[in-house]
């Protein structure tokens, strides 16, 4: 089996995550879509690391995980804060950008 299969799987998971971000309104699910995208990229990094025989890819994936953890903490806090004021977790309700 070629290692390219891992990369294709990674691409499919990434696309599904991106589609989730685009199509779901629940902020938490959107967030999970982002996590899925991060994980897909991690898979690709690990695969590249194996291909090149270099652990740097794994180190990068490790950092991605840590940063993702930080991001989730802050992101969920933001969602909570918004939910408290607006009683809604829909990303469509936060449209102050439109004047």
């Amino acid at each position: 089996m070629s290692l390219v299969n891992y990369l294709v799987l990674s691409a499919i998971l990434f696309s599904l995550g991106a589609t989730t971000v685009l199509l779901r309104r629940n902020a938490i699910i959107v967030f999970m879509g982002v996590e899925l995208m991060l994980n897909a990229s991690n898979l690709a990094l690990v695969t590249f690391s194996r291909m090149h025989g270099n652990l740097t890819g794994q180190v990068l994936a490790f950092f991605v995980m840590v940063v993702a953890a930080a991001e989730v903490v802050v992101g969920l806090a933001v969602i909570i804060a918004i939910f408290r004021t607006r009683k809604s977790a829909s990303v469509d309700d936060v449209n102050l950008l439109k004047s």
């Binding site: 691409a11 199509l23 309104r25 991690n42 898979l43 194996r50 090149h52 994936a61």
Partner: protein, 317 residues
């Protein structure tokens, strides 16, 4: 684990080529992951979506291990599945379920744009991967020489130590940020147990336990009101549910008997007067309107005081 064990053996031969076991693992896990990812996209309930993501992440952990990234596989389970996704579930419980879980699209054209963009992205990425020519896979045997965590540790605490420190700082900052974001300033005075109790007394609530119903020898039932010290039935001794349902016993029936007892048939005149004095001494709600029981002229006639009671009226009505 079998892959882990078989990995180094095969790697020596093929230098990074996937073994058959790994291929089987991949082809079992990959459909599950894609289906779970689709579940994230399509699940109506957020909890289901979270569970699907957890499934994907556990599968990913297997794949990391299969790809000689043992440390990452463990970290994936611990950090992602164990911490991050649990955090997600907590927040889901906190936020609850609302209309945003609905799959009905509200932005015009967004669904088609999203689908096309997603499919396009998949096709483009797959195309890139497919078109790219990779050198023959090297494998991680030499890099993972003593062990995979040790190799990672050399890198993390060696070349990438500054990045590692920065990430640590980032984590602390993120934790503080979460605290700040979720912190609420108290705008009203704190309401504790004592304040609640004070408020209740101020509102005039009954502080003592309510009297138990059914104190009569013959009618020791929940639907019969207890008697007060003055011998009159206590309305609120009957459970509220029964009162609301109208399943209360007719107190007038008992009142008549009580009148008789109070009139002296059961005890002497002394007892009667003693009772009367106690009646006058004890203040019960509504006693002003009702004349003392012994002063009532007719024995067996409907008691005016009982007739004026609210539940009795309700029964009549």
């Amino acid at each position: 684990m079998s892959a882990l064990a078989a990995g180094p053996v095969l790697a020596t031969l093929h230098a990074g080529q996937a073994s058959t076991g790994e291929a089987i693992l991949f082809w079992v896990l990959a459909p599950i992951m894609v289906l779970a990812a689709l579940g994230l996209l399509l699940a109506r309930k957020a909890v289901h979506a979270a569970l699907a993501v957890i499934l994907v992440m556990i599968c990913l952990a297997f794949m990391y291990v299969a790809q000689d990234a043992v440390f990452l596989g463990v970290v994936q389970v611990v950090v992602y599945t164990g911490a991050i996704m649990m955090l997600f579930l907590f927040v889901l419980m906190l936020v609850g379920v609302d209309q945003s879980d609905s799959l009905v699209e509200t932005i015009r054209g967004q669904r088609w744009i999203g689908l096309l963009a997603g499919i396009g992205l998949a096709v483009v990425l797959a195309g890139v991967v497919g078109r790219a020519t990779f050198p023959p896979a090297t494998g991680l045997d030499s890099a993972n020489d003593p062990s995979n965590p040790e190799g990672l540790a050399r890198l993390v605490f060696g070349s990438y130590v500054f990045a590692f420190e920065a990430v640590g700082a980032l984590l602390v900052t993120a934790a503080l940020g979460a605290l700040v974001l979720t912190h609420r300033r108290r705008l009203t005075p704190r309401v504790g147990q004592r304040e609640l109790a004070d408020a209740r007394v101020k509102a005039g609530a009954v502080l003592t336990p309510l009297p138990a119903p059914g104190v009569y020898a013959r009618h020791n039932a929940m639907d019969v009101p207890a008697l007060g010290p003055d011998g009159r039935p206590l309305e609120h001794s009957v459970p509220r549910v029964l009162r609301v349902r109208g399943q209360q016993a007719d107190e007038r029936e008992y009142a008549a008997r009580i009148e008789r007892v109070l009139a002296g048939e059961w005890a002497g005149g002394e007892g009667s007067t003693a009772l009367a004095t106690t009646t006058e001494a004890v203040e019960t709600p509504g006693s002003d309107e009702n004349p003392p029981p012994h002063a009532r002229p007719d024995v067996g006639a409907p008691v005016p005081g009982a007739a004026t009671d609210k539940p009795a009226q309700e029964e009549q009505g």
